[in-house]
Symmetry: C2
Subunit: 224 residues, 2 copies
């Protein structure tokens, strides 16, 4: 196997997305933790050779370099899923299309709401020393609740988003879903998200897959 | 070929993304124009059988239903590209990964900036009767200019985002790119976007592919 290097920061949701997939596929990799303090990700070398947008994560697979977390996940699966017992992408055209559909929902609807909520309730205080705006928090919480209601409708009678097996679509929801569960743990969001995506149990140390990804929850708590 | 139905609204950028791909692949399809006035896309039937999020476009291919425009594009290519002379997705793992990478950049960076700009300069007036906030317009314009600078860096020495051939990554940029070109035509954005993505000429009626997609520009102008 060629040497894989994942350049990122474990607290970042996008990096976690790639790390979870790498762990599920049992891939050997080197994690290069980006140095935020020295602004390594905005350095001339990083922009020229890793990602011109100055964002993480970045994957290096031999001479091949790739950025954007969801694209990296799909690449790792396309190239290495064959060696793994975990099948995160189906082999039929319709099955792949459904995974793409729910990944797009995660990208365009789920993450933006989670991100806005996290910025208002957590990052605003940490980065700017400002208090959350109660009206915005109320609105984002309502938006998220409405979204979960639709997810519950989708998951009615199914174990995972695409049916009986966990796919990349479920995994992609995990990092921001866990942020929301931690930020909102007092209001039972954890249980609701876990039940909603059917991945909380599988990926949080409670079931079979948990041991592979338990590192994720610990790092979350370290950050928060 | 099974009967394809595209449910959407031609002025919507997401619908246009699917229509362009369908035209490039020379697919026969029925376009069902959604009735916004009767809120057809929020009706009980639409939410239950088409898209639970109440959004367009939706594809129906026989009994198979799919939503989210970029997922629909990939599905159409995976299923029907074989019959077409246009190759919008490469066949190698690294090539597909690069298309995914630039599609993700389009989704997460390009569209949000274009969308924010269009909302402030156009939709705010149409929908709310309010004037644009000059400070916001200035900020969005600067954000977009910065983004274009990075795209120009990426395209240095290449004809398209992924090399010498137009892929789905380029096509996905077209609808919002054209909105920007129309909104900002007095400031030479059209030329800059066209040059940037190398698709303006190819898809606007000036070159070989233009005739297939010229309908798009006309519909744009009808809307605006």
């Amino acid at each position: 196997m060629p040497p894989l290097t994942i350049i990122g920061s474990p607290p970042s949701a996008a990096t976690q997305r790639v790390l979870v997939v790498a762990r599920l596929l049992k891939l050997e990799y080197t994690l290069h933790r980006i140095n935020y303090r020295s602004k390594e990700h905005k350095s001339e070398d990083f922009l020229a050779t890793k990602n011109p947008f100055g964002l993480i994560p970045v994957l290096q697979d031999g001479d091949f370099t790739l950025y954007e977390s969801r694209a990296i996940c799909k690449y790792l699966i396309a190239k290495y899923q064959g060696d793994s017992s975990v099948q995160l992408l189906p082999s039929d055209v319709e099955g792949v299309a459904q995974v793409d559909q729910y990944m797009s929902v995660e990208t365009c609807q789920f993450e933006p709401i989670c991100d806005a909520f996290a910025r208002e309730t957590l990052l605003k205080k940490i980065r700017l020393g400002q208090s959350p705006d109660p009206e915005k928090v109320k609105q984002y919480r309502q938006d998220f609740t409405n979204l979960l209601t639709t997810y519950e409708h989708i998951l009615n009678g199914k174990r995972y988003l695409c049916g009986e097996f966990m796919t990349l679509a479920d995994v992609c929801h995990l990092p921001m879903g866990q942020y929301m569960s931690i930020l909102e743990q007092r209001t039972c969001y954890y249980q609701r998200i876990g039940q909603m995506l059917r991945v909380g149990g599988d990926l949080s140390g409670k079931r079979k897959l948990g041991k592979k990804c338990g590192f994720l929850r610990r790092q979350r708590y370290d950050v928060l």
